[in-house]
Subunit: 140 residues, 4 copies
């Protein structure tokens, strides 16, 4: 696979220029040729059920999407539009910061596939998934 | 299929007891035996890219999930935990309120499948998808 | 949505020119502007578990894919390459012919999304799903 | 993760007791604590398009499903019913034997998630995906 073309610093600027990513308090904490690691700062508005106090699945899905897409951004220079995605919810996510790790499955000419795992503060896998990204414009 | 067991009023209370749903300004605007319709109030923090000003895919995914799950809630009495989901992004969603329509695919003993479509202010389909819900506890 | 550009007869020729579709004994039994209906002739080799004698999930998945893709073929002139798909298994499918109904979710410039449901001889829903198809070449 | 409870020999017997798996000529060629590797013997009936002579997506989907499920079988003693699955098609698969590698994503009390990659004779990734399996009965 091609080498990364963007630094953490460049990707971080792009990441939080995105308002919703900024609202989620996203911060890239690690990047190598194989994976990107993004931390999310938990906030009260992310709760799904006030009794169970678990984090909303929409937040976990957004994290999977962003982590997968920003590993594509590291390789191709910019995040690409998400065409579709699948998210698996493995465990309820209690209040607290989360960490998402994104990896490339395949970079293609027209579309690319990437995946991500989301971990809670105890390093337990709470969600994972994969998305398809339209990378044709980035490959030109 | 079984008749609805909850009213719009009851479902609405449950819907926005959920903090993130409340943050998204969700409101049930229609419910019959076949479908539920939920309106989302757009907010600036939902933007994905400050230049393109499109709504974040994570928000659209959350809407698909909530609309599908609340049609299950209408039939079984409460929303059920999402086990996994797929979201397809059909068009960029410009700033503005969105509307999601949820329908049941199948209510089963252990899990149930439901789907939803998300429309923009011009009634164009911007996203759609389906989720699997763990409904065993609700069927007891 | 655009009108169909192919007849059942034309689509049927294309359908079974495909060896695996021919092996599954596929036959288009209905087509209108909204949906295509394809019958599958069951065969012993399709069994998954010799004790339970249920039809293999791979066969049901292939049916979802083919029915969705041939509704695209009816609209655009030819089936398109499948980029990804999701299949939900709702009930075990006992030995016997199956029927798949395909519908368009959205025809787009670059990709299109379509869905299908698979029914057993008792008209029970045994599987359903949706696929993403790369239709750019067909739109040129 | 728990250790494997089945040997290749035991799993192979179970694998091809399944008629469709036998038709696909499936053979387990490797198994360790992390992954299972299954070889498929290509046959003419698997062709999708007689001109392009590519392998049918339904066959690739079946392979993803079987490889993922038999890694679960290695851990829990038997394959589990597939609840839903996602398959991504990365490249056209030319005529020739294929190899699928299955891995566990998460073994849970009620359901488990597993994934698989399918490679052609040149070791190129032609498809990949993940499935959800209902493992509650196996955990009892």
């Amino acid at each position: 696979m091609a080498a990364n073309v963007k630094t953490v610093k460049e990707l971080q600027v792009r990441l939080i220029a995105n308002h919703f990513n900024d609202w989620m308090g996203l911060e890239i904490i690690d990047l190598d040729e194989e994976k990107i690691e993004i931390k999310m700062s938990w906030r009260e508005e992310m709760i799904s059920n006030p009794k169970a106090r678990v984090t909303h699945g929409g937040i976990l899905g957004a994290l999977v999407d962003v982590a997968a897409d920003f590993m594509i951004a590291a390789k191709l220079g910019a995040p690409a539009p998400t065409v579709d995605m699948r998210v698996d919810y493995h465990r309820a996510a209690s209040p607290g910061d989360l960490r998402a790790v994104g990896r490339i499955i395949r970079i293609g000419g027209t579309f690319s596939t990437a995946e991500a795992e989301v971990f809670d503060g105890d390093k337990k896998l709470v969600a994972s998934g994969r998305g398809l990204y339209y990378t044709a414009p980035l490959n030109k």
